[in-house]
Symmetry: C2
Subunit: 216 residues, 2 copies
Amino acid sequence: MRIGILASGTGSNLQAILDGCASRSIPAEVAVVICNIPGVKALQRAESARVPAVLLPHQKFPNREEFDRELVLTLQEHRVDLVCLAGFMRLLGPVLLRAFHNRILNIHPSLLPAFPGLHAVRQALTAGVRVAGCTVHVVDEGTDTGPILIQAAVPVLDSDTEETLAARILVQEHRCYPRAIALWAEGRVQIEGRRVRITGAGPRPDHTLSSPELTD
Amino acid sequence: MRIGILASGTGSNLQAILDGCASRSIPAEVAVVICNIPGVKALQRAESARVPAVLLPHQKFPNREEFDRELVLTLQEHRVDLVCLAGFMRLLGPVLLRAFHNRILNIHPSLLPAFPGLHAVRQALTAGVRVAGCTVHVVDEGTDTGPILIQAAVPVLDSDTEETLAARILVQEHRCYPRAIALWAEGRVQIEGRRVRITGAGPRPDHTLSSPELTD
């Protein structure tokens, strides 16, 4: 399986995917990394991993449709099977969504459907939740609304700031995203409407997470 | 501290609270159990625990305000400090909310703010989440919108039905609700706007929960 990764910034999830492919915990290959911002660390990470890196500055395109068309062409040129968004800060239009229907994944720093959109960690703190987390989902036309593959939960501490909570969630993102892609590459992901089935998964119904104050 | 519990049905959370008080893991006393439905198991549980049980059939009152007024009088007669809803199937009106402002707790079978209202477990399954849970919160004028004290997360399995997931969540409800009431009785709960602080809680930032398929 050949993966195309879209990134806009630091690319720590990109790095987790590159590492997973290098160690073969993801049985797939990163075929191309596409960035829309020049000079970002994500581009350097691709180059360090000897993966083709393509810069497509979105401002150079007259509209989103033209930008999307170029994204699709670039992904197709590199014979990409699965597109992974890794901190890609552009909304995807119907051109890309149709070309890779149900073959685009994203990771979001909340337990969706709670806190979709921007500043998810800040939203969670403002809402006063005691359990937060991250979600790997299939991208559809909505904002963070597509079918959910994997979620992981972390506690929220009274002392948390947006930075400390985001960092705790990011550790889980780096576990979840490579794992979700590996399951995809192994052909174990079945999308049935809004529900996703993972074939061959061992049940672990006794595994729980609680607010930190539940047992102290 | 004296607790008043409002229940409408089986009352398994009521039982967990009664047991917590009996074993002194909750340093408080159940002063009264009030039911709005005759003959339900919750009334029997109260009687078995030798706790005053009061039946207030809501149909006997001309409107919600009169019913609420009688609830308040009954709670005050029993010198209740904290009201706990345990499967109480009536909406509370402003009369009760004002009389016990920020002194009413509820437990809800979802990780709020996701899936408020009726059939929360069914809502979670329909949405295809991989992590579900329960929430103990302070009751305000909204539907399951008040400040959150404690949450616990459980995995959702591909094989789950509404019944199996509800049962897995209920196990956590029976842990969370007594614990939240104990923290309240110990004077460790501080409500600051929408956020709740639990004083003296030990941080456990490394505790996480993941979808069952994350590691298998």
